[in-house]
Symmetry: C2
Subunit: 768 residues, 2 copies
């Protein structure tokens, strides 16, 4: 048998499988362009699952601040890309997924031909810089692959990536002198002084190493790189820098051209090539949190060849492996696109943060080695504790315990002795409130997904919850609430601390630590201390124990809340809905109250200055585009009107998640919005992570098969499913009717079948 | 037997030994205040032999540049201290010894009482800042120990140090609220943007860690520290910073007080204590080139206790061990002070640059581990190749081979493939000219002091000597000289390259590599290409082969030389004096020419704008205060008038090296000036390192006993020695008369006795 023929035959077979066996190729349903317009804050570029490298086009470089004042326009550019833009400045290697604040955009690479430019130019005059016009007609985004034609240079740019290496293939449709620009000043949420230092060595005519050190959202961030070219460059050089350049003693060396050791605050480099028509230049750029040596090792281990298509294929296979953990049948093709794109977005972060040898930069800025776990970073915990980490306990149990190990190491390295709040790249950025690492850890402990020292974990949670100088926590411990005249957003803080305390108590209970359980159960009741019986809302209290006088329960500003008004935030007692409902007047009154939330009108003025809340994400006064209310539709389950949850949820799934760049109604927030979609599409949701139970809703899929790590399979089936049959007539688990609107984690993890019988009419007595 | 009594008895015995057995306690002759005034650029503080920490008072903080323009006054502050000053700003942990350009001054610590100041204040108004007045009457400096009374606060400040740890003892004569200031902005040769980043963690109430990253003479320098207090502080905080401070999301944290994680461009911290009268606070501050973890380990290993006096004693014992390698008898007490102070200065650098575990930061900014050698940094090679490293081949053979190993690692890490030129703290600062690492390595090879891979070493030398983009080297290789219209100071460069090439050739010869020997011997003749027969001087040549027209052989500026005029530099052919003398008209004419050098008048205008040359260092037109002519007096040995060298040398020893702060006639240049003193006092000098031979001069000692590492002893004895008997009547080596004015390295290293018979009258026929 001829070997070449065999290879050819296998190749065709394989291709056929990819082309025709669609259900085994969910990558085809992923559309990375979803959520790349307006406020989705998603990037369309190439990345591997949970990859360190997110190689993606940036369409502009709006400064974070001008003359020391915050520039509101920057918010649009959290992911570096805005779909409405008409030019691309280049392809940088690190991006957050869907966040509402930003950083990164490290190592911007741009191929050009003709006249050399070392500044990006402007959108209105692209010819003044290295940027290029592009058209969405010539732009293709897949999981792990991105392609665009750079019109100004007639270059086809293609990107793919492994975990730690971004790979570029630039095909030049015109022969000419070509330049590869490497801009170390460019970045996301940049400002004049953001770059602290940049350092580059041209090791030889195909290899460049260096690092970029910034002072941004991460206060002290360092990312190293090793960059390899498929073709030797004939010249290289750097733009003249204003400051921070050592010019050699007596100015003896011209460092601007072919001098292989460069440093300064804002290095911008070029590499020159003679290029024939249709020739291509490939680039591999590896990142490392440790050193250029680490980056070089990552590069050599992960892509020891120059076969771009092979890398693309392997990364897409990796995506298929992740995405096929759930097989679905849907009513519409677009639902499948939304579902797998949500899965894709849910698996973009937290991101791997260590070299192939396990070394990483710790919070103390020292180098540590991850022993027996993968170290992750970029924990957007105020968002992701809600549904993303619970989803990981089902679909990514090993990664989730590794993420927890990463958090525990963070706590050990923290000079505060605290678990992460919002941490990235060896820094705590302190974004948002609460100490929701506790929720993530407790949820895993309660659900028996543990591969870490649980006693240490409990200790870390308790220590975190007792740092008295943290964000009103001292007063919270003393008074049972955060006084608004001590620390702003005091009600939000009180409510979230109370929930986190409950989560700690649940972990303690599971681990048999009764004293911690008791202590934290007591703390978990603190939500009661900010409830104002008179108005029926949660309301900021002052040090002296009285409620703050001025109070507008619709306003999101200055009312004691953060990124939400009292209408939404007053419902934040996920761990004790029954008590909350009693406190708020009982089931009936509460059900009507929820109805009002979804139907009342919320004038623009109440949120127009809030970055994270936009009209697109709102139904009535219910804000889905931001997190605090994500559990709210499911609260109907604790009234006698569970059916009301069902149409609300189906409505949210339909209205707030659509295909196309503008499909998302708010920041995806590192997968939290997507995790909500996945859970809700399947028919259940973790209202209170740390509880064994999920609240049942109304599934949107026709059928879903969840393949669990333990080999079990959990199937969700629907009968009589349609876009109008949004109500649940009955539910059966393994053939037995479910009489309460909840399902336990064990039921899922043990495998089995959940059947929803759907109807166009509510079954008001289903769970009563 | 009572143990306490035993201890007491031993203590008295030991003290007695220290007090009375003076010859075994050379530390007593060391005066670290010598050379601390004017241009000596020496620091008076505490350090261990070749220590990483130089803990020393800084008397002012003159900026290197103001509004981007060089500030000439900064030159005075190369060592941070100027004897004429009346205030001390604090005690910083890193200092260069005697250099003519500077950097460092890291981690300035200052104790104060009363009102808190976080700026140093000014010399004219010390009360406006944390600095204090002091008096030399209350200042004591010893090898490894420094003490001063800070008058403004009535604090007795004492300093000592191990290799990597500085120890402070502050005794408060008044009880009050005390502050310890830690100023990370302060530094030597500072300028507005020098600090790139500073980072501090308050680990607990007695331990602080962090780092300072600067862009100065070392372009990308990072020094880490761990600082431990003997008494817990009750509060701490930082000065408000203009820029580069992350203020926490929503400005929630007040980072200026008791917030244990600080970063920014210019951290200035304070630590508060309640202090009783006569109470003291001790501080240990360890440095590391690697990490705070490394610094902490250094601290724990080197000083695991709080016994200040024990540290002082151990460090002074270490100094005694180093200094007692030569025992001397002198004509005057002051000669002994000068001699041992010169020994002390010769053993201050290069400095150890690695953690106790052998790890250090390499030139590529990655962390390396020194395997089987001690890694050193701060190679002021243009100075130290001349006499200091040759001295090390006699007195510090192991350290010298480790220094060479450090250079070879540097070469491997260098993206240029070059050995160090002037390197410090993982950076090449490119200061001065030539590639004198080659001289250092060749000298060790020729003298059989090798503990490194000699083939690799030869390869590294050859590679270094062929980097065509380095400082006119390409043209030098092509044309046989550096053209002045290509690269300034072209004659100096040509001459020094030629010498270094000869050194490489000597190493190749010794190693049996004939082709390298031939190639570099040929290059070593290039000095001939810049000799102008018409004027009889070395003179700058242009690309077109003609001499540059305008030419003033007395001027040090714009004449093709650097830090020397043609009169001095034209004598720089140390490797071929015979040929040079022939070229310059023969022995007789040359002898007269040298006479003129020592007697002619050099008007101020010719050097008054040259930092490294001052009136104090000049005899006639001979410049001893700077290096290029250090071998010149010995050139008489190649004429028939060797006796003329003898009185010149004794005269230089007498005039240019005196006790007291103003005792030195120029920068000590990391021990080169001192090494000249030591060699010349002993009666011989290495005119051309790389040669087996030393030129004989006129010893100033009465007797010297050199204790060699191999156990041999080499004794220099004089007969009829006096301050006027400066001429040598005859010399005997092991009883045999010496008939040429040279002695070989082997003669020394094999041990033996060299006897000089001194006279008030020259013996003109001694070597003829």
């Amino acid at each position: 048998m001829n070997l070449n023929k065999t290879f050819c035959f296998l190749f065709i077979l394989n291709t056929a499988r990819v082309l025709f066996a669609q259900d085994e190729n969910p990558v085809e349903y992923v559309d990375p362009l979803i959520g790349t317009a307006k406020m989705g804050h998603l990037y369309p570029g190439a990345t591997a699952p949970f990859g360190s490298v997110q190689l993606s086009p940036d369409t502009d470089t709006i400064p974070y601040a001008v003359n020391g004042r915050y520039n509101r326009d920057v918010y649009k550019y959290c992911a570096g890309y805005q779909y409405e833009d008409e030019t691309i400045t280049g392809f940088s290697h690190t991006h957050f997924s869907g966040t509402g604040h930003s950083d990164l955009g490290d190592f911007l690479v741009m191929p050009t031909i003709g006249e050399l430019h070392l500044n990006p130019g402007t959108e209105t005059n692209p010819d003044s810089g290295y940027r290029s016009r592009f058209s969405h007609d010539e732009e293709y985004a897949e999981a792990g692959y991105y392609k665009v034609k750079l019109k100004d240079y007639e270059i086809d740019a293609e990107l793919t990536a492994t975990t730690r290496v971004g790979m570029h293939r630039y095909t030049f449709n015109k022969g000419n002198e070509a330049h590869i620009i490497l801009d170390l000043q460019a970045g996301i949420y940049n400002y004049e002084e953001k770059n602290v230092w940049t350092f580059v060595r041209v090791e030889n005519d195909t290899l460049v190493t260096g690092y970029r050190q910034t002072n941004g959202w991460a206060r002290t961030k360092k990312v190293y790189f090793a960059m390899s070219f498929s073709k030797p460059f004939k010249n290289f050089g750097q733009a003249k820098q204003k400051t921070g350049v050592y010019r050699g003693f007596w100015g003896r060396f011209d460092q601007t051209k072919n001098f292989p050791e460069m440093a300064g605050k804002n290095l911008k480099l070029y590499f020159d090539f003679d290029i024939q028509e249709q020739e291509n230049i490939k680039i591999k750029l590896a990142v490392s949190p440790v050193s250029t040596e680490g980056a070089l090792k990552n590069l050599q281990v992960e892509i020891p060849h120059w076969d771009f298509d092979k890398v693309k294929k392997q990364t897409q296979q990796a995506w298929n492996a992740e995405l096929s953990k759930i097989e679905i049948e849907t009513l519409k093709h677009s639902d499948k696109v939304n579902f797998y794109t949500a899965m894709y977005h849910a698996f973009l972060g937290p991101t791997v943060y260590m070299d192939v040898d396990g070394r990483y930069r710790g919070l103390d800025q020292n180098i540590h080695k991850a022993e027996n776990f993968i170290n992750y970073t970029s924990f957007s915990l105020w968002d992701t504790y809600r549904a993303l980490h619970p989803l990981f306990n089902i679909l990514q149990p090993d990664r989730n315990t590794d993420m927890i190990s990463s958090m525990l190491e963070h706590q050990k390295q923290s000079v505060h002795g605290m678990l992460p709040i919002w941490s990235h790249y060896a820094n705590e950025n302190w974004c948002m409130i609460g100490y929701h690492s506790a929720s993530v850890i407790a949820d895993a402990i309660v659900k028996d997904n543990v591969n870490f020292d649980t006693d240490e974990a409990l200790k870390a949670m308790v220590e975190t919850a007792k740092v008295s100088y943290f964000d009103g926590l001292g007063e919270y411990m003393e008074k049972g609430y955060v006084p608004e005249d001590v620390s702003g957003a005091s009600v939000s803080k009180t409510l979230e601390y109370a929930y986190d305390d409950w989560a700690i108590a649940q972990a303690a209970k599971k681990l048999g630590n009764n004293s911690v359980y008791k202590e934290f159960m007591e703390r978990s009741g603190n939500y009661k201390n900010v409830f104002d019986k008179k108005t029926g809302f949660m309301r900021p209290k002052l040090k002296n124990g009285s409620f703050k006088k001025e109070f507008d329960e619709l306003d999101t500003h200055g009312q004691g809340f953060i990124e939400g008004n009292s209408w939404n935030y007053s419902l934040y007692v996920p761990h004790a809905p029954e008590e909350m409902i009693k406190m708020m007047g009982g089931k009936k009154q509460f059900s009507t109250h929820l109805d009002s939330l979804f139907t009342m009108n919320l004038p623009d003025k109440y949120f127009e200055n809030t970055e994270d809340i936009s009209r697109e994400g709102i139904i009535g006064n219910y804000v889905h585009g931001n997190e605090p209310s994500h559990h709210v539709p499911y609260l109907y389950n604790w009234t006698d009107d569970a059916y009301k949850a069902q149409d609300k949820i189906r409505n949210i799934l339909k209205l707030k998640y659509q295909t196309g760049p503008e499909g998302l109604s708010g920041n995806d927030d590192f997968g939290q919005m997507s995790a909500w979609y996945i859970f809700s599409s399947l028919g259940f949701y973790p209202v209170a992570p740390g509880s064994e139970n999920y609240a049942l809703g109304s599934p949107a899929v026709k059928k879903a098969t969840v393949k669990l790590k333990n080999g079990n399979v959990f199937t969700i089936e629907t009968k009589n499913q349609s876009s109008t049959n949004v109500y649940v007539k009955k539910v059966e688990l393994n053939g037995e009717p479910i009489t309460q609107p909840f399902i336990s984690h064990k039921s899922i993890i043990n495998g089995g079948k959940l059947v929803f019988y759907m109807s166009g009419k509510p079954n008001k007595n289903l769970y009563n």
